[in-house]
């Protein structure tokens, strides 16, 4: 009875809608459709509902696929009343795709070079670095802003038709100036994040990549091929989405606003925790401080909530000591906390 969430009549009506879009739609078919519609009000309403839904899908798909969200989208009503024609994106879309593919191969070539320059003390042009515990905002040549979190390095390559940034390590928040003609692409860890004029954060950890979107839409293209030698499908993320990507999979979660705030609290120099295990909290503090916090397994699952200054490990430790009556074992360069 139900076909992918549609009733039998609706599945049939949708087939009609899709056939109408074909280039070879003709008068005979149109008459056939009319007979079908007249046969029952069930058909008529199914058709109207499908037409309405398909128009919204088509419209959203064009927004997903183009940086210029304003590009006029082909709607079904237009197709229906005008001469029959197929709905295909303009050829420009394909050209851009090729440009991106080319950009990706360039990115891979340059990847090796980054390892060498990283050894130099002087910051080369187009490269920006922060030390552990520091935080810095840079304005790129196109006016886009990038905030670098602790222990982060980015490298920018602005050439020709693309704006490319490589997140070599760490975490950064991007506020991208929209420019449909020059896509903004972030490369990190074998993933390509194609930006459509938007604001988002990217964090690169040892095994995975985390993307949090606060405005607009981004597309994440995994570059690694699957076993069958084909690229995995891209993932689309919009406002309020957090995407965790590793070599094999991408997981999209919708974050409530308060989580969005805590994900990005580092931008104001704070760490926000809501019921997070002490082990994880310690790992988070350790990103920002030279002095590392070591937590005994026994107490690693204590839950912590609150806002803390990322650079003030001392204040956090004192709080732990007072509230949970834990023992501190202080060394040069690290502090051990135990029950």
């Amino acid at each position: 009875m139900i076909h992918d969430g549609l009733t039998a009549e609706e599945a049939c009506a949708l087939d009609w809608c899709l056939r109408q879009q074909q280039a070879d739609w003709n008068a005979t078919e149109a008459a056939e459709l009319q007979r079908w519609l007249d046969a029952s009000p069930l058909h008529a309403v199914a058709f109207l509902r499908m037409e309405h839904g398909l128009a919204r899908v088509e419209h959203s798909l064009t927004e997903v696929g183009t940086p210029a969200a304003s590009r006029p989208s082909p709607t079904l009503t237009a197709v229906r009343s005008a001469a029959p024609k197929a709905v295909t994106p303009p050829p420009a879309a394909r050209g851009r795709w090729k440009a991106l593919a080319w950009a990706a191969s360039l990115a891979l070539l340059l990847g090796g070079g980054a390892l060498i320059t990283a050894q130099l003390m002087i910051e080369p042009a187009g490269q920006y670095t922060t030390a552990v515990g520091s935080h810095r905002t840079v304005v790129l040549e196109d006016g886009s802003r990038v905030e670098l979190n602790t222990d982060t390095r980015i490298r920018t390559v602005f050439e020709g038709d693309t704006r490319q940034v490589h997140l070599v390590r760490g975490e950064a928040y991007f506020d991208v100036r929209p420019d449909p003609k020059r896509p903004f692409i972030v490369h990190a860890d074998g993933q390509r994040i194609v930006v459509l004029g938007t604001r988002f954060a990217v964090r690169r950890d040892a095994e995975r990549l985390r993307v949090v979107v606060t405005h607009g839409t981004v597309r994440i293209d995994p570059l690694a091929l699957r076993k069958d030698n084909k690229p995995p499908p891209p993932v689309i993320a919009t406002r309020g989405d957090a995407v965790v990507v590793d070599q094999r999979s991408a997981l999209v979660t919708v974050l409530p606003d308060e989580r969005l705030d805590s994900e990005l609290a580092w931008r104001t120099g704070f760490l926000m925790f809501d019921n997070v295990q002490l082990g994880q909290v310690a790992a988070e503090f350790n990103r920002y401080n030279q002095r590392k916090l070591v937590v005994d397994d026994e107490i690693a699952s204590i839950r912590i909530s609150g806002n803390f200054e990322a650079s003030n490990l001392g204040a956090f430790i004192r709080l732990l000591q007072q509230v949970h009556e834990l023992n501190l074992d202080e060394h040069r360069g690290w502090v051990r906390v135990s029950a």
Partner: protein
């Protein structure tokens, strides 16, 4: 404008935008989710047919929700065991009250569509999504996609049909829970911005 076009336009503009609210109403008052697509369709057909015969109602919303309520009641009568709590609920149903509740969300569709499509895209079977992406976003022809994926053109067509079914279904009546969460997050963002 012909009589039929006029009727279709009315249906598109006055009835279809109320679907999210209508589905919430049906879900609240009917336990069996599986019945709902058919209920909705039956209801739409009744509304469409009576608007054709008896003219358009002045207050579309009140008309639609009254029809929905009547349909639920008649379906409950068909059941052997009548769920009493549900009937009581319906009996007290104040249609004008519902109408007030509905007004703000009618226009709130636009942005949510992008979320819905994205979620629906991510849920499509891999092959389906790949086909759809190549056809609609990369703009390849059916033949080019068939060659690229090493499958027949018929299969491409079938994958596209499946993809579109699922996308349209998700767009019109997507997972209610997710849509609600997004809606709430947005309302919160608005309230926050107003401070």
């Amino acid at each position: 404008m012909s009589e039929k076009e006029d009727l279709d336009t009315w249906f598109r503009q006055e009835v279809l935008p109320l679907e999210p609210a209508l589905m919430r109403f049906l879900r609240r008052n009917w336990r069996d989710e599986e019945d709902l697509p058919d209920f909705r369709q039956e209801l739409y057909a009744n509304i469409y047919d009576s608007a054709r015969k008896g003219g358009r109602p002045t207050h579309a919303r009140a008309f639609i929700f009254t029809a929905a309520r009547n349909m639920l009641i008649s379906n409950m009568r068909r059941l052997r065991v009548i769920p009493i709590d549900r009937v009581a609920d319906l009996g007290e149903l104040n249609v004008s009250g519902i109408v007030d509740l509905l007004t703000p969300e009618r226009e709130a569709l636009g942005n949510e569509d992008l979320h819905r499509i994205q979620n629906a895209l991510n849920r499509l079977p891999a092959r389906c999504r790949e086909t759809l992406w190549m056809r609609r976003i990369d703009g390849l022809s059916q033949k080019e996609v068939a060659t690229a994926l090493g499958i027949g053109e018929r299969t491409v067509e079938e994958q596209m049909r499946r993809a579109m079914r699922q996308l349209v279904a998700a767009m019109l009546d997507g997972p209610a829970k997710l849509a609600d969460r997004v809606g709430k997050a947005k309302a919160k963002a608005k309230a926050g911005a107003g401070k």
